[in-house]
Symmetry: C2
Subunit: 156 residues, 2 copies
DNA sequence: TTCTATGCAAACCATTTGCAGGTCG
DNA sequence: CGACCTGCAAATGGTTTGCATAGAA
C-alpha cells in the first residue's frame, strides 16, 4: 500500500501539489476502504481516527484534489451525498455498480462490458467517449430471499 | 399532447391522486420540453409563465409525485441540481445519455443495449435488475470540430 | 518572504418540511 | 366536515468559501 502512496505522491508533485499529512491520511482511508463507497462524511470520521484535528473542509478539498487527478472518482447514487471510489489504474474506465434499492448495498462489477458500445457510439453519433458510468438498480440476492420469506409468512 | 395528459390523469386517479391545475401545468412543461433535461428550477420558471402564483415547493412536490408514478425520471449528472426526464412508456428502461464535458450538451440514445447484460448479472450475481442508468462522458461532434479548429489556429 | 495548505465558521444552494389557509367531494 | 393540496417561510444537509494562521520552499 505504501508503494501506492508513493506513486500518488509523485503524481501530486508532478502537478505542483504536495502530499501533506492531511492528504495522506485521507488517501490512506480511501486505500483501506477500497471496497466501500464512502461519503465525504464517512471519510472525515475515519480520518479523524488518525488525524483528530482535521477539518471537514480539508477532507472535501483533498477529495476534490484527488478527483481532479483521477485518483478517486466522485459518484452520485442519488441518495443525498456524493461518494468516492478509488480508481483502479489498470482499468481505464469506471467500474459498474449494482445498487440494491431495498437494503442500499452497493456491489461492484469489475468487468468492462461497454467497449463495443463505445465504438458504436463513435460511429453512429460522432461522440468521443472518454468515460462512462453504469449503475443497475434492483434487488440483491439476500434481499430477494428475505422478501420471499416475508411473503411466505404473510400467507401462512 | 392532451391525450397524454388525459392518460396520466387516469394514472393519477387510479392511485388516488388528483391532477390539480398546478400539477397539470408542471406536467405540460415537461411534455413541451421533452428533449431537454430540466432542473427543478427550470421547470419552476417555465411553469410560472402559465401559472404565476405557483410555489417552488409545489413544483418539487409535483415532480416527486410524477417520479413515484414513473412518469418522469429523476436523474443526476453530478452538476448540482437533479434533472427530470419524461419517461417513454414504450421503453421499459431509462434511455442513455451522451454528456459532452466541453459544452455540457446532453444527447439521448434511445436504444436499449443492456438486456443481455442484465441477464448475465442475474446469472452471475443473483441480482434482480429493475432499472439501470448509463451515461457516457466525452466530446460531442461539434466540440471535436471546434477543438480541431482551435489547435490548427494555435499552430499557424 | 512568498506561496500553498489548513481549520474554523459563515455562506450557499438545492431540496424538504411545518403550518395556516384553501379546495373539493 | 374531512382529506387532500397549496404557498410561504423556515429548516435542513451536503458542500463551498472567506479569512486569518501555520507551514514549507
Amino acid at each position: 500500500m505504501t508503494e501506492q502512496v508513493d506513486k500518488i505522491n509523485r503524481q501530486l508533485i508532478s502537478r505542483g501539489y504536495k502530499l501533506t499529512p492531511q492528504r495522506e491520511a485521507t488517501l490512506r482511508v480511501l486505500l483501506e476502504n477500497e471496497q466501500d463507497h464512502l461519503t465525504a462524511e464517512d471519510v472525515y470520521l475515519l480520518v479523524k481516527n488518525t488525524y483528530p484535528n482535521i477539518g471537514l473542509a480539508t477532507v472535501y478539498r483533498s477529495l476534490e484534489l484527488l478527483s481532479e487527478l483521477h485518483i478517486v472518482e466522485k459518484v452520485n447514487f442519488g441518495d443525498g451525498g456524493a461518494r468516492f471510489d478509488l480508481r483502479n489504474e489498470d482499468q481505464p474506465h469506471m467500474h459498474h455498480h449494482l445498487i440494491c434499492t431495498r437494503c442500499g448495498k452497493v456491489e461492484e462489477i469489475k468487468d468492462d462490458w461497454l467497449l463495443p458500445m463505445e465504438h458504436r457510439i463513435m460511429r453512429e453519433y460522432g461522440f468521443t467517449v472518454t468515460d462512462h458510468r453504469l449503475d443497475f438498480h434492483g434487488t440483491c440476492q439476500a434481499c430477494a430471499v428475505e422478501e420471499k420469506d416475508a411473503s411466505r409468512k404473510a400467507v401462512s
